[in-house]
Symmetry: D2
């Protein structure tokens, strides 16, 4: 048992922090100003950052497959992901932002050579972006088998129909395609989890229509955005199936494991940043003759935040270690655990930081309300808390109930 990060991880971490400090922070205001002026365009500074990050060897660091990316293990990448949670624009700089990471991972694992040439390579190069279309407005998506959109085979084409929303990243000017998930076996003959497929759909295919961009807790998250999208008799070749028809859930499972670790570590990075801001504010403002830091229950708030973050981080790192050792399936309980724990922890710390900041914490003068919105959404996307708790309990009870229930 060893709680120290590996030397390779430490090296990456030091370089990434140095990069953020030297390259990103001095131009952060430029980025926001550009977005304010043109919310749905790529700020020029982002492409500069990306080029520099790539040159600095801080590129595709999320990808454990060494032939495609940095070849770091999930456990080694986790602390880097945490670091990128501190500022919302950081993941894109290192080509490590959702949902592209998940989509790249899927194409690495399940993509045909042709799919990899056409879609994966430009993504790995940071030239194009993508979205993921799974959640639907009309049903409870916490139970993914509720999905109603269809991807039916007609001859050598897949015909796609349905309405999706929370398709994140679809507003980005560089977004070129989506991975769409829908029902292929409309007869209901196949087992419940073998009826759906994932399909590559170029964004400019006729019949694909972005209806609107959704605000999430008041934020549109430009330039990425969260789209509501309709698919009306959209036709793509059957070669656009990922891994083949009926394998949608199988692909989704593989896709979500690492993504959950990334999200959770970013949430903890957000929590660490919130705690820093909290402490800085608490030592610099005074009320009733004392710095806020020493007033009433504030030290308890700080102590609780520290304890919660430490615990959630260790659990997330252990989940990453298990994923490296025994794979997503063997780490299923741990991954569900962190998916509940990390955003809860982050929300609690961010909320405390908002409170210490008073009105400033509510405003856009601090990143706190944006971090809150991101972590609050995390309690819903990629499986709501309720579903993850159910999974954890089922695995726990499995030790006592020999048969499934």
């Amino acid at each position: 048992m060893d709680f120290a990060y590996s030397p390779r991880c430490q090296d990456y971490l030091a370089r990434l922090r140095q990069f953020v400090k030297a390259e990103v922070e001095p131009r952060e205001a430029d980025y926001h100003a550009a977005l304010k002026a043109a919310p749905w365009q790529q700020p020029a500074v982002m492409e500069e950052w990306k080029a520099k990050a790539r040159a600095a060897g801080l590129w595709n660091i999320f990808l454990p497959e060494a032939e495609w990316g940095a070849g770091l293990s999930n456990l080694e990448y986790a602390p880097l992901a945490e670091e990128t949670g501190r500022h919302p624009m950081l993941p894109e700089i290192f080509n490590c932002n959702a949902p592209d990471t998940g989509n790249m991972e899927v194409l690495v694992k399940y993509g045909t050579q042709e799919q990899q040439e056409r879609w994966l390579k430009p993504m790995l190069a940071g030239e194009i972006r993508s979205a993921f279309c799974m959640t639907e407005p009309g049903v409870a998506s916490s139970d993914a088998t509720n999905m109603e959109a269809t991807a039916v085979v007609e001859g050598d084409e897949i015909v796609i129909n349905g309405r999706k929303w929370w398709s994140s990243g679809i507003g980005h000017p560089n977004c070129r395609f989506v991975i769409f998930m829908g029902l292929t076996d409309t007869s209901g003959e196949a087992p419940k989890h073998q009826r759906h497929s994932m399909v590559l759909v170029p964004l400019d295919t006729p019949g694909v229509h972005i209806e609107r961009m959704l605000a999430s807790f008041g934020k549109l998250d430009e330039p990425f955005g969260h789209g509501e999208v309709t698919f009306t008799n959209v036709r793509v070749p059957v070669a656009n199936f990922i891994a083949g028809p009926g394998r949608g859930f199988e692909v989704a499972q593989g896709r979500l494991g690492p993504g959950r670790i990334h999200h959770c570590m970013r949430a903890l990075g957000a929590a660490e940043r919130a705690l820093e801001l909290l402490c800085q504010r608490a030592v610099s403002r005074t009320a009733f003759g004392k710095p806020l830091a020493l007033l009433g229950g504030n030290p308890d708030v700080i102590a609780n935040a520290r304890m919660d973050i430490e615990q959630a981080r260790l659990l997330t790192l252990k989940a990453a270690w298990m994923m490296d050792k025994v794979g997503s399936k063997g780490a299923m309980s741990e991954i569900s655990q962190i998916k509940v724990v990390a955003p809860k922890t982050a929300l609690s710390v961010i909320d405390a930081a908002i409170q210490i900041h008073g009105g400033a914490g509510m405003s856009d003068d601090t990143p706190l309300s944006a971090l809150f919105a991101y972590c609050r959404a995390m309690r819903i996307f990629d499986g709501p808390d309720e579903v993850h708790r159910r999974v954890i309990a089922k695995i726990e009870l499995g030790k006592y109930l020999p048969k499934s229930h």
Copy 2:
């Protein structure tokens, strides 16, 4: 002891609900559409609603002074305030929105006849609006004696300087004046709570400048808005003091009691609406073969929401009853109690409703994130939780510690 609302209260409540159902809800979409098209203009429908509400005798119902308003007690108005918390635009319809209510109350109690003629009467008529400038960006406003802005007497003028923010309502096209609070006794000779004054400042006085409108958890709350305002050598006649120089804290105390009850009841109205939306969603959506309402811990969520709301409402009503019986000072602990309890309760219920709604709960398709933002801000404005807990503990310990500490 009697837990039934008075017949007069019940009558008002029935009429108000009927008004909302018959007049407001059918045109709610018009209101939002108008605001979307012109965020900082008064939608025409609002003026129509106001006229109808006035005609229906549902006007200035917050005002216990019968010569100026409806003459309902705080206890009788409280359930009506709750009702207006269900939709954010309702309070204005009945001329019962903050901060105008507090400002009207102040002018009723402390205004000179001239002040009442010029400012109070048009407000009571719903012709003009106002703002309240107390919180400052540069200091911890939880300790109001930190206030740095000044309102100094020079001859027969008051010279005002300083920067205020979270001046709510200042963006409204009908806003005509602010009540400004600042330091008058810059010598520090007067007792700590007798150095500040409240001053009436017409919005068009030279030197008053709205720097920007602040987003609160991503919401600008148009057309009211929350402004950051600078005052640079602003000059108004000494006749614009409210109650006289040095009486700012005295006036503030009287102002805040009823206002806190209004805010708390509105928060509980928001909570009731969230619980309704939660239940409606929970019975209409299905996952894993069951309505969400019966799934896992969801019944507990609903039960907890019901218990929390019931308790918070009873406490708030009791605080209103005490204010009627023994005044703001005698009800000080109860008022601080509800100020902590009501938004906490509302936030917990609204958050649960967001969770049940999934992505829809995060979006603007439901009012939930706006209600959350309002109630979250309430944990900060009019005294943060921390200050109110301090007050409650001090009063509680006062039973055991004969002397103050």
Copy 3:
């Protein structure tokens, strides 16, 4: 709406407090010393107290039926019940202790004249005590239909078999009979809730055997005790049915409503006493140069306790008011609500008081661990939290789901 106690209630309350101060507290140590010397015998001082309480008109004050008891409404009795929660021996002094109160209530409502003569009158006189045998060790008693003990009719006798536990009060030297609940319709032909009966069983009937007394969180609660009892072919005449065979659940429902209000108010009395002890300790002990009362988060602890108690008390009083106005059935949600809220509140306050007391709080030098044990048990007896939350949610959802589910 009126939050003041009725004059009659205030009069009783003042007299009861005076009685406790003048008569009980000076001899409390005698009571405990007697019990320590002879745990399962009635201390002489208790009989003296009872005689004095009766003489003072503070007797059977729980009983709303004026022909049998004080004739106070549930709402008027509630604050008196709260007062008796401050010391564990108080309820017996006023002949208001569980389970005798519930048993007396049952006999008042459902008893035959013969049953009333033989059992009710001596109980009302404080001459005998009783127990209630419902919970069983072998099944989940949260679902009362799980009950396995039987009360089968054979000719003109009822034959009783089964094992019961947590039969409170059965260890008291004055205990003379139990009310036993068991399955009469073993055929399962009657509807699920019409198969069980309540039966009066004299404690000295052959076949009744107290197997052992149970400790509850380390306390035996002498001289009352909680017994595990076996019934082996116990025979009593059919005249011992209460309300007739198959009406067990009907009687149980009526029995439990007022009892839950009594328990909840006592829990809040325990909470108030704990808060008093907490504050007294907090102002009298010093650490790090300050009284504990002003140290760190302790004022928050005190404020939270005050808010929680106030809310729980108001809710409980409202439930009592509803029971008076619309009966147990109409107040079903409220009664379930307080059954969850009151012990939870009390436990939280008592736990905080233990913490402030340090080791003393854990020991028997303060009443805190005994009060904790009582309130912790309350989350289980008379329906566990889980069942009550279920009831509350069902009623809440009933507003949205026209049919039962």
Copy 4:
């Protein structure tokens, strides 16, 4: 970073579990029966277990110093300590129970050769036991400088006076001496933390009087017990100082670090056992037609317990790792963190297990109420939560405040 236990740790863990299963569990009932018959005598079976454990090489495994004990690191011992938390009698079997472990550690580090011969060696052999006398009834012991008992030098003797309580283990028939802490520099000239001393006091020294044994949440914890002890002009030679006069706090600090890890891991062992009992009960009992395990919010309870335990264990293991790497001082925040987190976690899980068990959970038929009492006390002994949170916050804020405060 590696989350697997070391091979040596795994070997010990396997052997310890096997020992408990093969040797302890079959005779657990004998142990309790012997204690019931003679609460303050050593059950014969305990001495048999001890002999077997020693023969099996499972002896003094807590002691990192290889020349005296097993030589396992704190990190390696931690999982073994967890295992011994499952049954209250286990630590003694392996000679690893508090306060003997702390006292042995102190004598290993600070004892003179003579002290080691006379006291340490028989303790390491399991022949004698000891107690630790620090906490006092008359002051807030959370601030140890409040201590009022004295250990003053007169010639070549130390004269000891004062009253101590919660001297755990002092009731054990094998207890032969106590380590007493008291004020030596009564002049107050030395710095605040250099005025107190630790002194070895044989239990049979004239003037030492055990006044009574204290119940902790209703449990006397026989045969160890928690004593209240008076010291009246007790005289021992100056050779009985540990580490010399005035070094009491220095020794105490070194003593408490490992002890806190042991306690926390035992608490987590208790939590794991509670969760096992909870799950076993939940799958074996039925209500409303379902096993409790699948009913309502129960799966959430199980999931929450699993998440909380995992996190608390990882944090505790990390604290142990830090203690091994950088010592008690460098691990100060982490040790304070686990001291807050571990008992809180355990209490929450145990409480949930009690609830699922219903009345059985309150009774002595399950170990739950005893485990609860142990973990509840842990929130007070070795520094209450409040003090540890203060430490954590101070260290956290130290990153932002260059100077101490």
